[in-house]
Assembly symmetry: D2
Homo-oligomer: 279 residues x 4
C-alpha cells in the first residue's frame, strides 16, 4: 500500500475508590517518534502531577497518583506510516547465542507468562527438525495459529503459555505468549509487543477495537515482527511497548484498586492529515 | 566483628556433549569492586574466547561457546569485608509507588518464579495489617522462615513461590522467592540475590558449601538485605548478582546440554591476606 | 415453609459433528425417588438405544451413542418437597477418621479439582483453631463466601480449588470446590453435589436459571448440606448427583465433540400439582 | 518361566508424635487370594484394634488409630505365581465408550494426578493417528518410557501427569500417571496399580527394593497390564491395589503427622515353599 497517515488514540476511564499509584504505557514507542505528526501526550483528568520516563525496556511510561474518583486517560495523535506490510525475510538466520548482541540475551529467559523451562522438550519435539531461522519461527506461528482458537471469553490475567498449550483457547496475548515461549525454548530471542493494529487493508472487524499484541523475534541482525494470532503480514502496526511478556507492558498497572468503566481505542487511516480530534 | 579479609571462590566442572553457549555470573558484583584485594576473573579451561559484559540488571557476566569435552570454570579472589552484620533499620519506611526511583519499579512486577498476581489477596490477608515498612518485611521473613522447612531434596528447577507456599519445603532460593513475592504483592520492591555466604560468626555447617541466595528490599531510600532462610543478620555476605528471581541470576545458564560433574565453593575468613591459591 | 410441589426439568441441545458417546446425569438422585410425583425419564431425540445405570457414587446415569446431527435431551418431572430449609445442627461433631463409615472415607482424598495435598497447611492456618464440627465447616463456608466473588465470566473447565484460592473469582462450582478441599484438608469428609435450586423463598434472580452446585459434609452420623456460594439455608434443593468433585458429576460428559446450542433449566413451585408439561 | 513360589512382604516403621488415624493398603489384592499359600495379615505393633475392609475400588484395606510412639507395620506371605510374563495381545481392540462395562467408566475420568482435561489435544496430536487398540497403548508406553528419565530424586508427592510431561523426570508412579492420562484422554480406560515386582528373570537392581507401580488398560473384554517404566513384559507382579491414581492407593495414608523411619520390602522367588519367616 501507499504511505499513509493513521489517526490513533484511546480513552480509558476508571473509578478509583482510594488514591492509587498507576503506571501507564500509553504512548507510541520511541522507535516511531520520527513518524509522529501530532503531539503524543497522555492527558489525565483530573489534572495531576505526572512523571514520564523510559522503563528498563526502553518504553515511554507515565506514572502518577490517581485520587479517589473518576480518572480519565486519553491520548490521540497522528502518525505517518510507510504503508508497507510486515517485512518477510525467509533467509534470515538464527544467531548463535554466543554471537547475540548483549541486550538481546534477556529475551531468551523465563518470564511470568512464558515458562521456557517447562517447554524445552516440547519445543524440540515439535520444531527441533524444522529448518532453522525464519522458517522455524514461521512454523511456530503456523502451529499456534492453527491449534489455538480465539475468543474474548477465554481471557484471564494469570494465563500462562503452558495454560494456552493445554487449553488451546485464548486472546491475542495468549497466542503470542505461547509462540514467544516456544521460540525462547529453542534459543531464539523473542519479545512481547503491544500496540495499535487497525483494520487496514483487511475486512473491518465487527468487534470494538482494542489494543493488539504481537511479538518480535531476533534473527540475522535485527528484530522482526511476527503475529501468531493473525499470522499474516499486516499494514499499519504502531508499536507502543516491548517486554518479556504481558506483565512488563500492561497498558496500565494499578498498585491498588481501579475499576475500569470505559475503554475505547481507535486506529484508522485518515486521508487528509487532519488535526487530531476528540474520540 | 572487626573488618576482615575473605577468601572466596569456586570450581565448577561440566561434561559437554556438544558445543554449547554458556552465560555465567561468577564474579563479584560491581558494587563490591572497591573491596577486591585480588583479581576477580573467571578462568575457563580449555582456554576460550570469552566475552564479559554487564547485563540489564548491572551484573558482571561472562559468555562463551564451550566446546565438546570437559569444561572447568574457576575463580578465586580476596575481598575486604567490613565485618559488620546486615544493617537493621526498623524505622525504614515503605516508599509509595509514585515516589519510587524509576529503576526500582521493575522489582514490583511478576516474574517466572514470583507470581505476584496470584498472591495479591493472600499477602494482604497475612500481612495487610502489619506495621508498614521494615516491620512488615520482617514479619514476612519471620513467617516464611517459620512455615517453610529447609531440605536439599526439595530443590527443583521449576518450583515457584506458589509451590513453596503450598508445599512448605525448599532450599534457599525457595525461601527467598516466596518472601520476594509477598513483598511485591504488597507493593514493596524486592529483588533476588545470589552470592557467597560463609559461616562467619556462626557454627560451621556440616554440609558442603554452596552459593547462597537472599533478597533485597527497597525501603526509605535504598536497598536492604533480608534473608528468609536464615532470618538473622549475618556477617560476610558477598553479593554476586541481583535480578527479578533465580531465572535472571543463575550462576550458569547453558543453552543446550551441559552435565555438572564437580562443584565446590569456598568463602572463608583469612587472617593473613595471603595470595589467592588454588582450591 | 409449607410442603410444596416443585416442577423441574431441563432442555439441552447439542450439535454433534460425528457420532459420540455421552454419559448424562440428568435424573433426580435415588435418595429422592420416593418424592417423585411424575416420571423422571430423560427423553432423547432422536430416539436412541440408551442404557441407564447407577455409577460408583450411586447416581442415576444414562449412556448412549449420539449420532451426527442435532441431539435434544429433555426431562421434566414433579417432586414433593418438605418446604423445610437445609437443616442446621450446630452441635454436630466431627467424626474421627478411625470411626467414619467405610464408604465415607473416599471423600477425604484428593480429586482433580480438589488438591487436598496442596492445602494441608493453609487449611490448618486458617481454620485449625476454629471450634471443631459444624462451627468449623460454617467458618469455612463463611470464609469462601466472603473472599470469593461470583461471576459467570470466571468459569473455566480446568479451574481447581487452588486457582479459586489465588484468583478469588468463580462460579458455584468454584466456591464449592474450595470449601470441599478445605474440609478434606482438615480430615472432614466432603463431597460435591449438583442439583436443582429454584428461587424459592428468595428474590428471583435476573439470570437465566441454571443447575446449581453445593456440597455435603459428613458430621455426627450423616451428610449435611452446605453451600459456600449462597451460604444460607435454602428451601427446595433437589439433589441430582454427588461425587468427589465436578469431574465426577458433570451433567453431560461427551467422549468427543458435542457443541452446546441450547440450554434451559426450570425449578419452580407449582400450586396445583399439575401434570408435567413441556418446557 | 515355570510356576513358582514368591515370598513377599514389608516392614514399615513410623514415629508418631500424636495419635493419628491411618488407612493402609498392605495386603495382596482379592483377585490373587486363591494364590496365597500363607496368611496375608498386616501385623501392627503395638497391638491395636484394627478394622479391615474393601474400599470402593475393591482393595483390601486396614484402618486403625495409631498411638503416640513407634508404629511398626509388617506383613509377609507366600504366593503362588504362574511364572508367566504379562500377557501380550496385539489384536486386543479398544472398546467404544458406549459398550464399556459400567464399572469401567470411572477410569475414563480426571483424577488428582491425571489431568485428562488438560491432555485432550496433546494426546490426539501424539497418538491420534496410531493404530487403535493394543498398538496405541503400546505406543503411549514407548513414548513415556523413552521421553521420561527415571530418578528417585525426582519424586514428589504433588507431581501430576502434566508436571511429568513438562519436566521429563520421575519415578515409577510418574511414568504410569502420564501414560494413564494419555490413555484416558483418548477414551481408553486406564487405572493405576501398586504392587510387588521382584527382580524375577531380570538382573537384580542395585537399589533397595520398593513397592512398584504399573497400570492397567481395558481392551477387548478385560484389563491388561502395562508398565511405562520398564516397558517390557515381566514375571512375578503381585497386585495389591488399583485406583484412579496414586492418591487412591497410597500404601499408607496418615490423617495427621507420621514420620517414616524404616522401610523395607521383599519380593523374591523361593525354591522350597517354606513357612513364612520374619524379614
Amino acid at each position: 500500500m501507499e504511505p499513509m497517515m493513521l489517526r490513533l488514540g484511546h480513552e480509558i476511564q476508571f473509578e478509583i475508590p482510594a488514591p492509587v499509584a498507576i503506571v501507564a504505557l500509553l504512548n507510541v514507542h520511541p522507535s516511531r517518534a520520527a513518524d509522529l505528526r501530532a503531539p503524543d501526550e497522555v492527558q489525565v483528568e483530573p489534572a495531576l502531577s505526572i512523571k514520564t520516563f523510559l522503563d528498563s525496556f526502553g518504553n515511554r511510561c507515565t506514572r502518577f497518583l490517581a485520587p479517589k474518583g473518576t480518572l480519565r486517560l486519553r491520548n490521540e495523535t497522528l502518525i505517518h506510516d510507510s504503508g508497507q506490510a510486515d517485512p518477510v525475510a525467509i533467509d534470515a538466520r538464527e544467531v548463535p547465542v554466543q554471537e547475540l548482541p548483549i541486550d538481546v540475551l534477556r529475551y531468551l529467559y523465563n518470564s511470568r507468562y512464558c515458562e521456557v523451562d517447562r517447554f524445552s522438550m516440547i519445543a524440540v519435539e515439535l520444531f527441533g527438525s524444522a529448518k532453522p531461522g525464519w522458517s522455524r519461527v514461521q512454523a511456530i506461528c503456523d502451529w499456534v495459529h492453527t491449534h489455538v482458537t480465539f475468543g474474548y471469553q477465554y481471557a484471564r490475567p494469570t494465563k500462562t503459555a503452558l495454560d494456552v498449550y493445554t487449553e488451546r483457547f485464548g486472546v491475542c496475548r495468549d497466542f503470542q505468549h505461547l509462540a514467544v515461549t516456544l521460540c525462547r525454548a529453542l534459543n531464539i530471542p523473542a519479545r512481547y509487543v503491544t500496540g495499535y493494529l487497525g483494520d487496514i487493508g483487511v475486512p473491518v472487524s465487527p468487534s470494538p477495537m482494542d489494543f493488539s499484541a504481537w511479538f518480535e523475534v531476533y534473527l540475522e541482525d535485527r528484530w522482526w515482527t511476527f503475529d501468531a494470532r493473525y499470522n499474516e503480514p499486516r499494514v499499519g502496526r504502531v508499536l507502543m511497548a516491548t517486554g518479556r511478556d504481558a506483565s512488563d507492558v500492561a497498558l496500565t498497572t494499578s498498585f491498588g484498586m481501579a475499576n475500569l468503566t470505559h475503554f475505547t481505542v481507535i486506529c484508522e487511516q485518515v486521508t487528509t492529515p487532519a488535526v487530531a480530534t476528540a474520540i
